[in-house]
C-alpha cells in the first residue's frame, strides 16, 4: 500500500521516467514530453491539495507517517511524515512547479525532454527533502536535488553557465559531504538514522557542537547564509529562469528548513550556544544583501542580492527561536518563495521581449509601454519591500517582533532597517526601468502582457495578497508545530543543564534554566 506522501514524492519522478521512455522524432516527442510533464505536475498538485485536506488541524506532531525498512543491515529506513513546518513548503513546491512548466517563453529549444525530466526530478528531490525523516533518506534527496539543478544551469544556462554550474555544484557538494560525515557519526553513536528516535538523545557537548557545525555548513551554503553566498549571484544570473526560480524559491528553503528541522531537534544545546553567531551572520546578510543590491546594474543580480537579504531575515527568525519568530519564519519562507517566483517570471517576460535582459539603465519608461506588466511589477516590488497587505509584511513583521521579544533587541532593530534599504533599491530600480522618460527605441519590442501571461502570474499575485490579508489558515497549521519544536528544544536544554550541573536541588536548576530561556 502506497501512502499519500510516497505517492506525492515519487509521482514527479514517475513522470520523468515516462518522459525518458518517449520515442519518435524530436518535435513530437518534445510536445508529448510537455504534456506528460504538465499532467504529472498537475496530478502532484492535486495530491498536494488532497494532503492539505487530510492534514489534521491542531496536531503538532508528524502526520501521515510511513515507515518501511530500506537497508536492514544498517538500520536505514524509508521514513516520511509531514507536520505544520513542512506542509506549506510541500504545497509551495507543488504549486510552483506546474506554473514553471507552463512558462511558454522559456528559451528551451534543445532537448526539451531532458529539461522537463530534470524539472520533475528536482521536484521529487525537493519534496523528499521536505518530507524525509530518516537521515540517510534525507541525505539522498538532498544530493538528488543537486544533479538536476546542475544540468539545468549547465545545459540551458547563460553565457558563463559552465563556471556557474561548477561553482554551485562544488560549493554545495563540498559542504553536504560534511553533513554526511556527521550523519555517520550519529549512526555510530546511536545506531539509527531515525530522526524521531534521535530526538531524545544526548551527547557530549563538544561532539554535539562539531556535528551541528557540520550540518550547519551544508544548510548555510544552500540557504545561503552570509558569507557563504558567492555561488548565488553567478548561479541566479546564469541559470535559465525556471532554474533560478527553483533555486531561489524552493532550494534556498531547503537550507532554511534544514536549520529548523535538525538544529533544535538534534543539537538543541549546540544550536542554542551558536545562536548569537548565527544571528549575527543572518543580520549581516540582511543588511549586506540590501546594500549590495543598491548598486547592481543588472536586474537578475539585484534580485539575487535582495534574495540574500530576505533569506537572511528568515534565517534570523529561525535562529531567534521564539514562538513568533518561528511561525513568522515558516510563513516568510512561503511568502518569499511566491514573491521571488513572481519577480523572476516577470524578468523572464521582459527578457523574452527584449532578447535577453538588458542592464537596468538601458530600459526606461516601460510602464508607459506595458501598463499591465508595470502594474504586476509594482505589486511584486511592494511585496518585496514588505508593504502591509502583502504576504511579506506578515512574515517579516512576525520575524522581527519575535526576534525583539526574544530579547535579541539589537538584531531586531538593525534588521528592521532593511525596510529603508529595500525601499531604496527596489524603488530606484523601478524608477530606472519602469518610470522615467520612455525610450523610443524600446517601443517596438515592448509588447504588453497577453491575457495568458497575466493568468499565469495571477495565482502568485492572489496568493501573495491572500496570505497578506488573511494568513490565519497558514498560521493555524504552522504554529502548533513550531511551538512544539520550541518546547522540545527548551526541555532538552533544561535537561542537559540538569545533567551537566548536578545541583542538589534539581528544581532550582530547572527554574534557573527557564529564566535563562525567558531572558
Amino acid at each position: 500500500m502506497i501512502g499519500t506522501l510516497t505517492a506525492l514524492i515519487f509521482l514527479p519522478a514517475l513522470g520523468a521516467l515516462a518522459i525518458a521512455l518517449l520515442r519518435g522524432d524530436r518535435d513530437r516527442a518534445d510536445a508529448q514530453a510537455r504534456r506528460v510533464a504538465l499532467t504529472f505536475s498537475f496530478l502532484t498538485l492535486l495530491l498536494g491539495l488532497w494532503l492539505l485536506g487530510r492534514f489534521e488541524l491542531g496536531e503538532p506532531g508528524m502526520q501521515l507517517l510511513e515507515r518501511a525498512s530500506w537497508i536492514p543491515a544498517l538500520n536505514v529506513q524509508y521514513l516520511v511524515g509531514v507536520d505544520g513546518i513542512s506542509l506549506f513548503l510541500v504545497l509551495l513546491t507543488v504549486v510552483l512547479v506546474p506554473l514553471l512548466l507552463l512558462v511558454p517563453w522559456e528559451p528551451v529549444r534543445e532537448n526539451y525532454r531532458l529539461y522537463a525530466a530534470m524539472v520533475l526530478l528536482l521536484e521529487t528531490g525537493l519534496l523528499g527533502v521536505f518530507l524525509a525523516l530518516d537521515l540517510v533518506l534525507f541525505y539522498v534527496f538532498w544530493e538528488a536535488m543537486l544533479i538536476p539543478m546542475y544540468f539545468l544551469i549547465g545545459v540551458w544556462g547563460g553565457e558563463r553557465r559552465g563556471y556557474a554550474a561548477m561553482k554551485f555544484f562544488l560549493y554545495t557538494m563540498a559542504t553536504s559531504v560534511l553533513m554526511l560525515v556527521a550523519i555517520i557519526v550519529l549512526y555510530v553513536q546511536f545506531g539509527t538514522f531515525d530522526l524521531l528516535a534521535l530526538q531524545g538523545t544526548a551527547m557530549a557537548p563538544a561532539r554535539e557542537l562539531w556535528l551541528f557545525l557540520a550540518f550547519a555548513a551544508a544548510f548555510a551554503v544552500k540557504t545561503p547564509l552570509w558569507p557563504f553566498h558567492s555561488w548565488l549571484p553567478d548561479a541566479y544570473r546564469e541559470a535559465p529562469v525556471v532554474g533560478t526560480v527553483l533555486m531561489a524559491a524552493l532550494m534556498s528553503k531547503a537550507g532554511l528548513y534544514g536549520f529548523l528541522r535538525f538544529g533544535p531537534t538534534l543539537f538543541p544545546n549546540a544550536f542554542g550556544e551558536m545562536i548569537p553567531y548565527l544571528l549575527a551572520l543572518a543580520l549581516v546578510g540582511v543588511l549586506y544583501g540590501a546594500l549590495v543590491a543598491v548598486v547592481q546594474g543588472d536586474l537578475k543580480r539585484m534580485v539575487a542580492y535582495s534574495s540574500l537579504s530576505h533569506v537572511g531575515l528568515v534565517a534570523m527568525g529561525v535562529f531567534a527561536m521564539s514562538a513568533l519568530s518561528l511561525a513568522g519564519a515558516v510563513l516568510q519562507m512561503i511568502s518569499h518563495g511566491l514573491v521571488i517566483a513572481g519577480v523572476f517570471l516577470l524578468l523572464a517576460l521582459l527578457a523574452e521581449r527584449f532578447g535577453g535582459l538588458r542592464p537596468m539603465d538601458a530600459y526606461g519608461g516601460l510602464m508607459h509601454f506595458m501598463p499591465r506588466l508595470g502594474a504586476l511589477a509594482l505589486i511584486f516590488v511592494f511585496a518585496n519591500v514588505a508593504l502591509p497587505g502583502t504576504s511579506n509584511f506578515v512574515g517579516e513583521f512576525l520575524i522581527l517582533v519575535g526576534t525583539f521579544v526574544a530579547e535579541y533587541r539589537v538584531y531586531a532593530i538593525l534588521g528592521a532597517f532593511v525596510a529603508v534599504l529595500s525601499a531604496i533599491y527596489m524603488l530606484w530600480m523601478t524608477q530606472r526601468v519602469f518610470h522615467n522618460p520612455p525610450r523610443e527605441e524600446l517601443r517596438d519590442r515592448a509588447r504588453d502582457l497577453t491575457a495568458k501571461e497575466v493568468a499565469l502570474l495571477a495565482p502568485l499575485v492572489l496568493l501573495v495578497f491572500w496570505i497578506g490579508i488573511y494568513p490565519k489558515p497558514l498560521l493555524q497549521r504552522i504554529e502548533p508545530s513550531t511551538e512544539m519544536l520550541l518546547l522540545n528544544a527548551q526541555a532538552r536544554v533544561e535537561q542537559t543543564l540538569g545533567i551537566a550541573d548536578p545541583a542538589p536541588d534539581l528544581e532550582d536548576t530547572l527554574t534557573q534554566a527557564q529564566k535563562e530561556e525567558g531572558r
Partner: protein, 635 residues
Amino acid sequence: MEFVWVVLILPLVGALINGLLGRRMSKRAVSGVACGSVGVAFLFAVNALLGLLRLPPEERVFTQTLFDWIVAGGLSAKFSLLLDPLSAVMLLVVTGVGFLIHLYSVGYMGEDRDYSRYFSWLNLFTFSMLLLVLADNFLLLFVGWELVGLCSYLLIGFWFTKPSAASAAKKAFVVTRVGDFGFMIGLFLIFATFGTFDYFRVFEEAPQVLAYGGALATGITLLLFAGAVGKSAQIPLYVWLPDAMEGPTPVSALIHAATMVTAGVYLIARAYVLYELAPVSMAVVAAIGVATAFFAATMALVTHDIKRMLAYSTISQLGYMFLATGVGAYAAGMFHLVSHAFMKALLFLSAGSVMHALGGEETDMRRMGGLRTKLPYTSTVFLLGSLGLSGIPPLVGFFSKDLILEETFLSGNTTLWLVGLAAAVLTAFYMLRGHFLTFYGKPRYDETKVHPHESPPVMLWPLFALAALTVFGGILWISFLNFAPFEKFLEPVFEGARLVGEEEHPAALSTGMLVLLSVLAAGVGIGIAWLVYLRGVTVGEGLRRAFRPLYTLLYNRYYVDELYTALFVVPGRRLSEFLAGSFDQGLLNGIVNGVGRLVDALGGALRRVESGYIRAYAAWMLVGALAILIYLYLR
C-alpha cells in the same frame, strides 16, 4: 454605526473597479464610480457621526471586528474598526474633503490619458487613510500608515515619465520609511511591553506598566513620534514634502495637505495617554513642532513656486499642530488639523485652478500676476484661504491658530509662544505675498499665447464649498453660553489629559490680550506684504545688501537637501559600492575561487609525477617497495 465598515469598503471597491476595469469604461463611468463611492462613504460617515451623537458622551466608543488578521504565538492583531469621536472627526474630514477633491479632479484631470488609473489610486488612498483612522490597534494603524505612503508614492509619481516626478515619489517613500523604521521599533517595544497592540488595553495598562517619565515611556513615544515626523514632514524629515508637489495638484491638496500628512498628529492625539506619561517626549514634540513651524515659514517667504510655497506652509502649519499636542492641547491640535484641512485644500485647489487657467502646469509666480480680473472666483476664494491661514477673524484659521498660541502661552513656555507668534507673522506675510504676486499687478505671462479663463463649475463648486467651510467653520469652536461643539465632542476622548491652563501658571496676559496680539501679528505680516508687493515700497540698497546672504540661504532651502546628500546618500553609495565591488566580488568571491585555484594548482603540481613512461612507473614501484622494506627492516 454598524455600517462604519461600509465607509471603509466603498472606496476600496471603487479603486478595484476603476483599477481593473477602468480602462474599458467611459470617463463618465469612471468619475461616477470614484466620486460616487467616496460621496456615499461620506453619507455613511455622517450617519455614523449621528449614531455617535445619539449616545451619551461617555459611551461614544464603538468597535467592530471584521476578522482575525495575524494570530500567532501570543500576538493577536484583529482586523477591527474603532469609531469614537476622534476617529469620527477624521472620518468626516477624509471623506468630506476627499469627496470635494474627487469632484474637483473630474475637471482638473479631465484631459489626462490615465484618467482611470488616477481615480483608482485616489480611491485607494481614501481607503488607506480611512483604515488608518478607523484602526483599533497600532498594527492595523501601521497598515493604513504604510498604505497611504504607497498611494502617496503612486500619486506623486503619477506622471512617472517625468524624471523629477519619479524621483520625488521615490524620495517621499524612502524618507518617510526612515520615520517608519522608528515607528516599527516603537511597535516592537509596545508589543514587548504590553503583549498587545490594542489601543484600549495598551492605554488601560500604560499608567501601571510605564513609570511616569521613565525611559520606556519616553522611548515608545519618541519612536512613535519618529514615524509622525516622517509622515507629517517635520524637522528633520520634511525634505520630501516640497518635492512631492510634482504630483497632480488635487493630490497635493488631498494627500499632502488635508489628510495624509496629518496622520502624525492623529497618531499622537490617539496615543496621548502614552505621551502624558512622557514629559520629555511632550517637550520634544512641542519643540520640533514650533521649530518646524518657524523654519518652514522662512522658506516659504522666498520661493517663487506657488505649490512649493503652499507645501512649506503645510509643513509650518503641521508644526503648529504638533506644538498644540506637545503642550497637551490635543483638542486644539485636532481643531487646527480640521481647519487647516479646509483652508489648505481650498488654497491648493485654487492654485490648481490658476494653473489650469494658465494652461497646464505653470507654478512659477513670476509668470503670473494680474489674474484677479480674469479669475474673479478663484481670486476671492484664494484670498479667503490666505486670510484664514493668517488668522484673521472670523475665519476658521483665526480660531484654531489663536487657540494653539493661547494654550501654548498658558502652558507656561513663553519661548515656544514667542516663536509661534513670530511664525504667525511670517505666515501672514508669505500667504499675502503669494496672493498679491498671483492676482495683482501686471500680467507677467505671455499674453499672446495664454488666455486665462475661469475654471469649469465642477472645479468651482468644491472651491465654494471649502470657502464656506473656511468662513463658517469657526462656529465649531465658539464657546458661547456653553456651546462648544467641537471641544465637547472630543472631550471624552481626551478626558485623562491634564488640562492646560488649569495648571499653576499665573497668566501674565489675559486671554483678550493674547487674542489681540495674535491678530496683530497677522496684521503686521499682511501689512508688510501689502507695502512691499502692492504699494511697491522698496527698501534701501544697504538693507537689501545686508539681507542678501540670508535671502540666498533661504532661497536654497538652507542647503539641507545638499547636506543630506553629502551626509547620507554619498557615503551610503560609497559603502554599497565598496561592499559590492572589492568586498563581495574581490574578497569573498576571491576566497571561494581561490580555494578552487589552490586545488587546481595542487593537481597541476602532482600531475608531473604521471609521466606516462611505463618504466618510470616501474621505477617508482621499486622505490616504494624498497621504502617499505627498509621501513620493515628498521622497525
